[in-house]
């Protein structure tokens, strides 16, 4: 056995040592075996690093392996994208970091010698990823490591770079996959919501098309949501119900609270929650046609229930708008018919319009003139209150507004005495008076009945009557006087008995004719007449004395009193006719 100097090239690193040689065959040098063993260790370390997807873990493995590869240590790891790495032993102090950082910057993507305070030897080993330099592994040592040790450090740095690039790529791919998964989840949710929305839309559209009306809409929304459902009109009256536990009687909010709720729902423009109920307004525009209600005292209704409720409210709005349009058309035709009749239009035309409405015009009718108002002046509300009240009490369905009054063509025998009360109930208070014209057997008689109804109302006002319903047929002498064809004779009669008093009242703006009228109406009772006129008894006596003096009539004479009373009635009748 002999010994010879052997030089062995191991993966770019030249080891030179004395190698024992036996029988001409080379025996592997222990240092070479150590180097090979280190490389095997690096291979395993590289496999471990490559399996990791955690940047911090990879750098931790690499930096802690450095002392195993020689008498050296890690001075720091600096990555291009994140600077000095916190988990590795960093270059001490910010000043030193700045100095080393500047040197690394000069090195660019390559490696090389560094000058670091308190390090006899320092080297920057480049970390390279798949797309170029990603940083440096900075190693320090008390003396320059051997070539084989430096080779191991280069391999370690190279493997660390690959592992880091792999981990970043993995992280990026995972993030992309997560984004994709999130996008897929969102898309699936959107599709499910759309499918559900389409199903809701289809079901409600079928209900709308099939003409199941408000009941059908309530049933469909109940079926879709599982909650009890109510359809209310804008005033809170129940129009349809679907589901269990229908309340009896159906609760109704006070008008002010109802209006407040409607205003809030219109303002928020989406279903609102109030008193354990979810409410959606059925509205084509700003006009509230109805309210769709989901009864949900537990507040458990979710997004899908809201969607069903909103769709339901839209379909309900369409249904109510359709009904309103039908009603409007019918109302318009009715109005045309009433106008035609009151205007004395031809009978044939009137009967044709009545036939369109499937209305029997050839039965006896009476014309009603309804005057009044609710608590606040709203002529439209008054019209609809009269319309509903007339329909509900059976007082007629043909009506139209004329001026501030509503004219109703009422079949004879209809309970129009109940109409006033019904109108006031619809309005929630206010005033209401009705004049009732005489019976008309033929369509051509409606203008006369209309005049009579108007006259009855006027006479009631002139005569200061208190009754809410005044029938022309019950006007007595007023009716007789109003039907005198030549009012000039009546006027002459009035002038002959009341002329002096009328002239005096006109000159002095006094009320002697009114006083005389009330005195005679009260049968000559001072007390009753004074009370009716709201004057003191002595005032009444004084006025009566003036009446005697001006007219020259003896009020105690029965014949005179009769003629004077007839003259006052005639005077009132003339005023009624003239107005």
């Amino acid at each position: 056995m002999s010994s010879a100097a052997r030089s062995v090239d191991i993966a770019g690193s030249r080891l030179t040592t004395d190698v024992p040689v036996a029988d001409g065959a080379a025996k592997v040098d222990p240092l070479l075996r150590d180097q090979l063993s280190n490389l095997r260790g690096l291979l395993v370390l590289s496999m471990v690093m490559t399996e990791s997807t955690d940047e911090r873990q990879i750098l931790d493995l690499a930096t802690r392996a450095v002392p195993s590869l020689g008498r050296c240590h890690v001075a720091g790891v600096r990555l291009v994208n994140s600077g000095w790495h916190a988990t590795s032993p960093p270059c001490a102090g910010p000043d030193l970091r700045v100095a080393v950082g500047a040197q690394l910057h000069q090195l660019g993507g390559g490696g090389g010698m560094l000058a670091i305070q308190n390090e006899q030897w320092a080297w920057a080993f480049p970390l390279r990823g798949l797309e170029g330099p990603i940083g440096h592994l900075v190693v320090g040592a008390p003396e320059e490591p051997s070539g084989s040790e430096q080779f191991l450090l280069r391999v370690l740095a190279q493997q660390t770079g690959v592992a880091l690039a792999n981990a970043w790529l993995h992280t990026k791919e995972r993030a992309t996959a997560q984004q994709l998964a999130a996008a897929n989840t969102a898309l699936a949710q959107t599709i499910r919501a759309l499918e559900r929305s389409t199903a809701i839309h289809d079901q409600l559209t079928r209900v709308a098309v099939s003409g199941e009306g408000q009941e059908g809409i309530a049933r469909a929304v109940h079926k879709l949501t599982g909650f009890p459902v109510a359809v209310e009109d804008r005033y809170g009256n129940l129009r349809a119900w679907a589901g269990p536990n229908r309340p009896e009687p159906y609760p109704k909010d006070p008008q002010a609270r109802r209006e407040q709720m409607l205003r809030r729902a219109l303002r928020e423009d989406r279903p609102i929650r109030e008193a354990g109920r979810l409410l959606a307004i059925a509205r084509p525009r700003e006009d509230v046609l109805g309210v769709l209600v989901l009864v949900d005292p537990g507040g458990t209704a979710g997004e899908q229930e809201l969607v069903a409720l909103e769709h339901g409210a839209t379909v309900l709005a369409m249904e109510l708008a359709r009904l309103r349009s039908l009603a409007d058309t019918e109302l318009r035709v009715r109005r045309e018919l009433v106008d035609h009749l009151l205007g004395g239009g031809d009978e044939e035309g009137a009967l044709a319009l009545a036939q369109m409405l499937d209305y029997d015009l050839e039965r006896p009718h009476q014309v009603l003139v309804v005057e009044g108002r609710g608590r606040r002046r709203d002529e439209d509300a008054f019209f609809h209150a009269v319309r509903r009240a007339a329909r509900d009490v059976g007082a007629g369905v043909l009506l139209m507004a004329r001026g501030r009054a509503i004219v109703v063509l009422s079949p004879t025998g209809a309970p129009f005495d109940r109409l006033c009360g019904a109108v006031l109930a619809e309005l929630g208070g206010g005033t209401c008076r009705i004049g009732v014209g005489g019976v008309c057997e033929r369509p051509s008689e409606f203008p006369r009945s209309y005049r009579e109804a108007q006259f009855a109302l006027k006479m009631q006002a002139i005569a200061k009557g208190v009754a809410q319903v005044v029938q022309f047929d019950a006007l007595g002498v007023y009716r007789l006087l109003s039907e005198v064809p030549d009012t000039a004779g009546v006027e002459r009669f009035v002038r002959s008995w009341l002329g002096a008093l009328l002239d005096y009242d006109a000159r002095r703006n006094s009320e002697l004719v009114d006083t005389l009228t009330e005195y005679l109406k009260c049968g000559g009772s001072y007390d009753t007449a004074a009370q009716s006129l709201s004057v003191h008894r002595n005032t009444l006596k004084y006025r009566l004395q003036r009446i005697r003096e001006i007219s020259g009539h003896d009020l105690s004479c029965p014949e005179t009193r009769f003629n004077l009373q007839l003259a006052t009635r005639a005077w009132q009748t003339l005023m009624g006719l003239r107005s």
Binding site: P30, S37, R40, G41, E51
Partner: protein, 218 residues
């Protein structure tokens, strides 16, 4: 004829005399190696000696088989299961000679008696404790290579990569002829024989085991 045996993981085989270090991440991966390795040996009729550290011995027993099976293996002395404090650290410190004697006491009589083969396994996380003598770990691993050829046996050393860092991996690889990593058994023809390793080591800096403590997650 070379004696080969099932590792317990399908497709992987060991050879008599193998000193294998197995790297894994966490208890789940550990059990995927440990349990099949022991069960394969027990089913084959090998003497099995297991030392665990991060898991209770009774948990290993319950994972190995039915209560009847396990009771049979224990009463037959086929299975020896110890905690690390009863083996590596049984004297309160780690001592290479004591531990080699431990293996000798179990393996020697077994394979000269009623068993023909022994398979041993040790969970090495005990070396991360601050106990005296743990800095002998790498030297001990190297010395085991002298012990292995003496009997028909294999020894599996379990290293948790979540707890052991880079400073230990390279030295561990140097002292193990075979490495189990990522489901593969990798031959290590360049592992250093004990004499080589200890000679080289004496010329270079020893592994700073205290540094291992400072950085280990455990």
């Amino acid at each position: 004829m070379t004696h080969t045996l099932e590792l317990g993981i399908p497709g992987l085989r060991l050879t008599a005399g193998d000193h294998v270090c197995a790297f894994y991440r966490g208890p789940g991966e550990r059990d995927e190696i440990l349990i099949p390795y022991l069960r394969a040996g027990l089913v084959t009729g090998d003497k099995c000696i297991c030392v665990v550290d991060a898991v209770e011995p009774r948990q290993v027993l319950s994972a190995l088989g039915s209560e009847a099976e396990v009771n049979g293996w224990i009463s037959d002395t086929q299975l020896e299961l110890r905690a690390s404090t009863e083996a590596y650290l049984r004297s309160g410190r780690f001592c290479t000679e004591e531990m080699l004697a431990f293996w000798e006491d179990f393996v020697g009589p077994a394979v000269t008696g009623k068993f023909t083969f022994a398979r041993s396994v040790g969970e090495m996380t005990w070396a991360l404790r601050q106990a005296p003598g743990v800095d002998e770990l790498i030297g001990y691993e190297s010395e085991l290579n002298r012990f292995l050829p003496r009997y028909p046996q294999v020894i599996l050393c379990l290293y948790d990569l979540e707890r052991f860092g880079g400073e230990i991996i390279i030295d561990i690889v140097k002292t193990h002829p075979r490495i189990l990593l990522g489901g593969m058994v990798v031959d290590n023809p360049n592992y250093l024989e004990p004499d080589e390793f200890l000679a080289i080591r004496s010329r270079s800096a020893p592994v700073d085991i205290q540094h291992v403590y400072d950085h280990s997650a455990g």
